[in-house]
């Protein structure tokens, strides 16, 4: 493995790991706050138990998310010093604000986790809400920084120099809104479905059914509303990418040839050498509609883009298909769930609906990882789109492969421990939270 690939793999691994924890750390506090609210309003002890059990999950995920985030802030320099030397002062604004948001989150978490029976109960509840709100804000800010890499703004690039820097303009770049919206909703979908799935499994097993039913209802409600909204934000993103990064859209769709009334491909195996896609289902005109809102419009293909600027087509295409597929599946489950709530109450008590949720447990996170792959791999070979190549940004230090192996081992063991601990949390529900 050469150093450049090792550096990219280590970055991908660190981000891929961090993103799971940050999504849960960002969204779970909202579930917690809802349960907590019900407890304060209804005095039903089960809601207090749910809140406490979830707060432990939040603590574990926050701590792991915080350290993996700290690692990322160093890795930007350790792996991509050439990038940070120029980009730091331009896209640093969201990071400085994110520092504040993150700090507030840590303080609020201190109040919330250790504040039981010490503060006014509504103040205590409020600190839990602040954990969620500041977590959400830091997520949005970090995505805004990433958006700048896709849509660089706020400086003039003249003769290799970065002049006339405007950090505010850089933060509010063209991509920040669509990316932040898509990511935030994705975090709600992924966390909602993951949490709901775990509780659904416990209901099916007949363990602490009241506790798990209340938990399931809250998580499923968040997850399903978000899953139904997500295609809308996906549409905004697609139209945005079509204009800003035609190469990325072309790679997502394995769209080799520029054409009018372009077809949308479902599935398929791209052949990059022959520039064609085999075994795909074609929906004529739909890609044109997706990209520009008009079935007849022309969609730029990879043939209009210099070969040295092509992103890896197959990976981007598969990742995009996976993301959309998972999203559709979860949307379908959500529609069924709302139908059950609205018209078919008896479905709610039938195992098949719960089984669907159990099956959907990992889908949201698979979609999130796939979505990030689309964003990041689809931007290649650029680290700053159209300005700096990723290969020019990498550290000169040799032996990054060893660093990659080391971090892989660390993250793998952390993942195992966290899963092991969550398993133990769930196993102990009966003893710790549901004595009655």
């Amino acid at each position: 493995m050469n150093d450049f690939i090792a550096a990219r793999s280590q970055m991908a691994l660190s981000l891929g790991f961090h993103i799971v924890f940050s999504c849960i750390g960002m969204v779970m506090p909202f579930f917690m706050a809802v349960a907590h609210y019900y407890w304060l309003k209804t005095d039903e002890i089960v809601y207090k138990n749910v809140t406490k059990a979830w707060s432990k999950g939040v603590a574990i995920f926050f701590a792991t998310g915080a350290v993996s985030g700290t690692v990322l802030s160093f890795e930007l320099g350790l792996l991509w010093p050439g990038f940070m030397k120029h980009a730091g002062p331009i896209f640093g604004m969201p990071f400085s604000l994110e520092g504040t948001a993150f700090f507030i989150e840590a303080i609020a978490l201190g109040f919330f986790l250790y504040g039981w029976d010490r503060f006014n109960k509504w103040f205590h509840w409020f600190t839990g809400v602040i954990v969620g709100v500041s977590g959400l804000a830091s997520g949005i800010l970090v995505v805004a920084a990433n958006a700048w890499m896709n849509s660089p703004a706020g400086f003039d690039h003249i003769n290799g120099q970065y002049l006339n820097i405007d950090p505010i303009k850089a933060m509010f770049n063209d991509a920040w809104f669509s990316q932040a919206l898509h990511m935030t909703i994705a975090a709600f979908v992924a966390t909602g479905f993951a949490v709901a799935g775990v509780h659904a499994l416990m209901i099916l097993k007949g363990k602490n059914v009241l506790f798990h039913t209340k938990s399931f209802t809250i998580a499923a409600a968040f997850g399903c509303v978000a899953a139904i909204l997500q295609p809308l934000s996906g549409d905004i993103s697609a139209k945005d990418v079509a204009i800003r990064q035609p190469a990325k859209l072309a790679a997502m769709e394995a769209h080799f040839h520029t054409e009018k009334s372009a077809s949308l491909l479902v599935g398929g195996i791209p052949d990059e050498e022959k520039k064609e896609v085999n075994y795909a289902v074609k929906l004529p005109g739909f890609l044109s509609f997706l990209a520009h809102g008009d079935f007849q419009s022309e969609v730029t293909g990879l043939d209009k883009i210099a070969p040295e600027n092509h992103p890896p087509v197959a990976i981007t295409h598969y990742a995009f298909q996976i993301m959309v597929g998972m999203g559709m599946a979860m949307m379908l489950v959500s529609v069924l769930y709302f139908l059950a709530l609205w018209k078919q109450k008896h479905w709610l008590n039938s195992p098949w609906l719960l089984k669907l949720f159990v099956a959907a447990t990992p889908l949201g996170f698979i979609a999130v990882e796939a979505g990030w792959t689309v964003t990041e791999v689809g931007r290649q070979p650029w680290i700053i789109y159209g300005i700096m190549r990723t290969a020019d940004a990498v550290t000169p230090m040799p032996g990054i492969a060893y660093s990659f192996y080391l971090f892989t081992a660390v993250y793998a063991s952390l993942a195992v421990i966290v899963i092991f601990m969550l398993y133990r949390q769930i196993k102990m529900v009966g003893t710790l939270y549901d004595k009655a």
């Binding site: 406490k52 432990k56 603590a59 574990i60 926050f62 701590a63 792991t64 915080a66 350290v67 993996s68 985030g69 700290t70 690692v71 802030s73 160093f74 320099g77 350790l78 050439g82 940070m84 030397k85 980009a87 730091g88 002062p89 331009i90 640093g92 604004m93 990071f95 400085s96 604000l97 994110e98 520092g99 504040t100 993150f102 700090f103 507030i104 840590a106 303080i107 609020a108 201190g110 109040f111 986790l113 250790y114 039981w116 010490r118 002049l163 820097i165 950090p167 505010i168 000169p396 230090m397 040799p398 080391l406 660390v410 952390l414 421990i417 601990m421 133990r424 949390q425 196993k427 102990m428």
Partner: protein, 341 residues
């Protein structure tokens, strides 16, 4: 605005050293505590730092963000030449942060606790050791921008007696800060005495490591004596730190604890002041006399303005909340072990 940013940078580093340092020290004490007393030490430190634990480490993030936004050349130079110690420090941060949380939030209490405990204690030692090594390397003049071999560019830049002794000195200081902090956190006379002894132990350790630092500097021809004593700020800082140290030993001997924390904090602040004052505005000193300066290698004006404003705005939100958090849990400490049920 540049000076506002620099003030925030220095303050973040100081607060990380004081608060994060006390935090690291808590783990270091655990490493140096006899088996029988470990459980009590762990409980006391947990109730003392549990609620502010996550916040203590945010100062590092703030310092890093200031460096990469405001002083990108300094950040990327250090990232390249000090890649290895930075990576080891990061592994320490990961191990420590997760082990601390895991051991408290694991729903089942069994043998896994031993695993979490050992990881926590060992990484509490390693992290500040490498933090010190990084700081020592930055000013040691061992970083060579012209280096052309792996060893000279990425190993000898940080692996030398001076930086290692600065690392050990940092470890001793963290242990010292934590033991002084913990004296006031327990009502039990026996434990209080134990922490007072720990404070003396680490204080002596810090003095010994300090002598090591000066010896290593002498051997490696780093003009440390001139840096520290060659200007009136350094002289005043060292004299007042020494006086406060004598005062503190007297108070420890008398068993009075009221002023211990401010005095310990004062001493560490003076040490940081002395070591940074002489170099200001330089932060990285290269082999052969080159340097990276906070004034000459800062970002463009608009960047610094935005960064300064963001920091000022942030402190309006953060500081009151942080003070209230510390105040609330100082007023009525957690009962050890009862934090979550």
């Amino acid at each position: 605005m540049l000076y506002v940013v620099i003030t925030f940078l220095w303050t973040s580093i100081l607060l990380y050293l004081l608060l994060g340092g006390a935090d690291f020290g808590a783990g270091i004490i655990e490493l140096f505590t006899s088996k029988g007393n470990k459980a009590v030490t762990r409980k006391t430190l947990y109730s003392a730092i549990g609620p502010i634990w996550e916040a203590n480490h945010m100062w590092l993030i703030i310092a890093i963000v200031i460096l990469f936004v405001g002083f990108p050349v300094i950040y990327s130079t250090m990232s390249v030449n000090l890649h290895i110690p930075l990576t080891i420090m990061l592994l320490g941060i990961i191990a420590r942060g997760t082990a601390f949380t895991f051991r408290h939030y694991d729903a089942v209490v069994d043998d896994m606790q031993h695993v979490y405990n050992s990881i926590f204690a060992i990484s509490s030692f390693i992290t500040p050791l490498f933090l010190g090594i990084i700081a020592g390397s930055a000013v040691s003049g061992h970083i060579d921008p012209q280096a052309d071999t792996f060893l000279s560019a990425y190993i000898f830049s940080w692996l030398h007696w001076f930086s290692v002794s600065v690392g050990l000195f940092t470890v001793a200081i963290c242990g010292f800060l934590a033991s002084v902090y913990l004296i006031g956190e327990t009502q039990n006379e026996h434990d209080r005495l134990r922490f007072a002894h720990k404070a003396q132990f680490f204080n002596i350790g810090a003095v010994i490591c300090g002598i090591l630092v000066f010896t290593a500097a002498y051997v490696e021809q780093i003009p440390l004596i001139e840096w520290v004593f060659g200007n009136w700020v350094g002289r005043i800082a060292i004299v007042s730190a020494t006086l406060s140290l004598i005062w503190m030993w007297y108070l420890l001997y008398q068993g009075k604890i009221g002023l211990l924390r401010p005095l310990a904090g004062f001493q560490v602040t003076m040490i940081l002041l002395t070591t940074t004052y002489r170099h200001f505005p330089n932060i990285v000193l290269f082999k052969g006399g080159g340097y990276l300066s906070l004034l000459e290698h800062s970002g463009q004006e608009k960047t610094m303005q935005a960064l300064g404003l963001a920091l000022l705005l942030g402190s309006v939100f953060i500081l009151p909340a942080l003070f209230y958090l510390i105040y609330s849990f100082q007023k009525k400490p957690l009962e050890a072990g009862s934090a979550d049920h």
